[in-house]
Symmetry: C2
């Protein structure tokens, strides 16, 4: 006889498969789909979204979950599976169908309007669509949890358990400490970046980056690298985890750090327990934890002196015109810092200030303290306050990011959560494993990966980001390790 | 108020989307999926098959179809839409669920056993799995239509309206006329094929083939070419029709004829009426008609003298080492003929004898005149009878094709139907348009494509293959134009 628990897992497997199919279609859309394929693809994705929604809301799944609670012991993994399924189903059933439809439509309109507004650098072309998105997402927050502040509900869509109250002092601390650091670097004058500039053939960049990814532990037999416009990592089960990249011909740092970043995400996905495939817990936990894994390899490893001691001969072999570059030059060129207008091009330190700007604006929006019409001015003023610079136009200002046009409010803070958690994890790993830089210098990355597998990857979605962080480090969320790390890096590069 | 007809179309659109998703996943599986991705992909595809089956068998679709009949005029396109949906739904509902499951399992087992048996060249490793597949497909035939001979039911899965009785005299005629022709070519001694042999860089082959495909009218903005093991054409709506290829480094004919073949399929798919997207009629008609379109471009165009008069300068530019080759040499090298053991490597004339062998065996199997254990000997004897040669081992004999291992019985004859129909259509097009070779020689392929668009492509699945053939040519199925064409080609190449 099949238990209700088994029934629940069988039904969940189908939901997971529909999500996998959706992910393949989205990957194809961003990599190989011919230009005219877009309209049909939109319809297919919409139908699959409907199939997923129907399966999540099916009466037989609801019944299987309810009955399964009686079959499993509390504190067991099975219980965690049931509870996770229960949570997901309840979330899916909270949103009234007409609100879900209105949001999907507003997102679709929002994207089109945003693209146009950015092209024309004219906020008025996007203002009404963005107002609609904010209004509908305020409604969505109320539908999901009327007892929680709206912005906290939004934040919890991407990182469960995080609150605005928790983040305010952290972003205050980041802003307070990083702004003077970045200014000091600017005052110290430019670093010699010539070892990272020049002509870098795409194939050579690709081969070099994949050599690094493979050395990190990314399994190309269970993944692949393809070209795209906005790089991402996507997964169709533990054994098919793909990464994408773009590159600059005249600066190899962009391509390499992008691949190390996405391969870091990929290692998390490839490291989840295969036994849990197609179950509710077979999923990474929050986006902050996910970002911590990408930042670990991009920043803590890829911009470190130990790493370049090992990697430099490979770099010289890949790019013979740069054979004269020293490890010291390269490490400095990897750790430049300067105030900048565009988030996605920002350095490791400045990045967090870009996030702080967006956090500041989002929380005011969802507290009804400002309206959409206030955003261009608020954006510029907040950049002036935090980074001391101001965009010449809205395309490089309030219109630079796609997130709000997609209805993603509360997403940005997970980028800084990732940086903060990454530094905490690195510190804990080093306390346990000893000098990591010494092992990187020998080309040994397995100790770090093993520690991440053990402490993070193998747990799937069994624990929240903050629970995992506590288990792995003994600590609550804390920005100090990140700040120490950034000060050390930037000071070394600029001789502060 | 939404009519039942509109309701039916909306539900059909979702079925069509699920089929599109399945096609993307299958395309990815054959092109870019990393090796370890296969198990998870199998599960996703199986779940999508279940979703499609559930949507086809949904009570609301059945009700919408029944009610829609009363809303549309007979002889209207709308009526044809309803009737087509009705037919598909009835087909899907005929197969009992346990039989469908048993067949899916037998196909999965069959593929694994076949691959192994072919590798070991040992029929006994596949015999029991093939017996099971034959047994289950006999049951399937009885379930689909107990009043029709089993093999006719199988044939109708791929080409509606075709019967064994209709095909027997046709394959007799092909065998009787082609065997002596092929023998005469062999006796006349080899043709000089040096202009097609040598070293052909993959990129140059690709560029040359795509120049031809584009000249044919294949729209790369609504499609793309990728590498695969077993080339195919696949479609996710009229505006995303992809082709795949493989090539030989030492003989450019394989890659080029493969691309022209698949692009021929692609032109059919791209030529369907966009207004019918996601409706029951938005589909090519039977496989024989589809194959006629691929063969049209691969053979009637791609191996013709007129084509090479235009193409030769492009060939010489693409492959400078072959700049000395003449049009006459090339046309001969494109029309060689010799008895061969492997169907997929066979020339235009011999190909039909390979099909005749399989037709002969399949019809005996489904008339219960032979059993699976008889197949290796029957295979060899039939090859000896029809082609005068015999394989040294079962890997090159009865185990060479994947079709039976996939449970596809009755599929092979559509290959020869395609060749026959192609020659009939070409004759009719030329009667209407005048000397096609003269237009090919000027690089003008639009007249032929226009004629195919008008007479075939624009009709989607509104008419059966044989209805379309009759409308376009005024004729029933007839092998004479194909035989005349082949005799002319082979005679010219060998100076018979």
């Amino acid at each position: 006889m099949t238990s209700s628990y088994e029934k629940m897992l069988a039904l969940w497997g189908e939901i997971s498969d529909v999500e996998g199919a959706t992910a393949v279609l989205s990957w194809d859309q961003e990599t190989y789909m011919p230009p005219k394929g877009a309209p049909a693809r939109g319809k297919i994705l919409s139908t699959l979204a409907g199939v997923r929604h129907a399966k999540l809301n099916a009466a037989e799944l609801r019944a299987a979950i309810d009955a399964a609670y009686d079959e499993v012991d509390e504190d067991s993994t099975e219980y965690a599976q049931v509870a996770r399924a229960d949570y997901e189903v309840k979330q899916a059933s909270c949103i009234p169908a007409d609100l879900a439809t209105a949001i999907a439509e507003a997102e679709s309109n929002g994207l089109v309007a945003w693209q146009n507004a950015r092209k024309e650098s004219d906020f008025s072309l996007f203002e009404s669509q963005l107002s609609e998105l904010v209004k509908l997402n305020r409604e969505k927050a109320a539908a999901l949890n009327p007892d929680m502040p709206a912005y906290d509900v939004m934040l919890n869509l991407y990182e469960e358990g995080v609150t605005e109250k928790q983040l305010v002092p952290i972003f205050d601390e980041l802003g307070g400490e990083l702004a003077p650091l970045i200014k000091a670097a600017a005052d110290a004058g430019p670093v010699d970046e010539s070892c990272a500039m020049g002509n870098f053939a795409a194939d050579a960049q690709r081969d070099f980056a994949m050599l690094i990814a493979s050395k990190m532990g990314y399994d190309s037999e269970a993944g692949r690298l393809d070209k795209t416009t906005h790089p991402f990592c996507t997964t169709f089960g533990v054994d098919d985890v793909r990464i994408t990249w773009r590159w600059l011909d005249n600066d190899f740092r962009s391509g390499l750090s992008g691949v190390m970043h996405e391969a870091g995400h990929g290692l998390y996905e490839q490291g989840r327990p295969a036994d849990w495939a197609r179950t509710p817990l077979f999923h990474a936990t929050g986006l902050g934890m996910h970002e911590s894994q990408s930042r670990m390899w991009e920043n803590m490893v890829g911009r470190s002196e130990g790493f370049w001691q090992w990697a430099m001969p490979h770099f010289r072999a890949a790019f013979p015109e740069h054979a004269h570059c020293s490890v010291e030059q390269m490490v400095k060129a990897q750790n430049t810092s300067r105030p900048s207008l565009i988030r996605v091009e920002a350095d490791e330190a400045t990045y967090n200030l870009h996030v702080a700007v967006r956090f500041e604006i989002e929380r005011k929006l969802f507290a009804n303290q400002v309206e959409v019409s206030d955003l261009p001015e608020l954006w510029d003023n907040t950049y002036q306050d935090l980074l001391g610079i101001k965009a010449d136009n809205v395309a490089e200002g309030v219109l630079q990011d796609i997130h709000w046009a997609m209805g993603a409010f509360g997403y940005f803070p997970t980028y800084s959560l990732g940086n903060i958690i990454c530094a905490q994890l690195y510190k804990a790993a080093e306390a346990e494993l000893g000098d990591l830089q010494a092992s990187f210098a020998k080309g040994e990355f397995a100790p770090l990966l093993g520690w991440l597998r053990e402490n993070i990857h193998q747990h799937g979605r069994r624990f929240s980001t903050f629970e995992l962080l506590k288990r792995a480090t003994g600590e609550e969320l804390c920005a100090d390790p990140l700040l120490s790390h950034l000060k050390e890096r930037v000071s070394a590069a600029y001789g502060l």
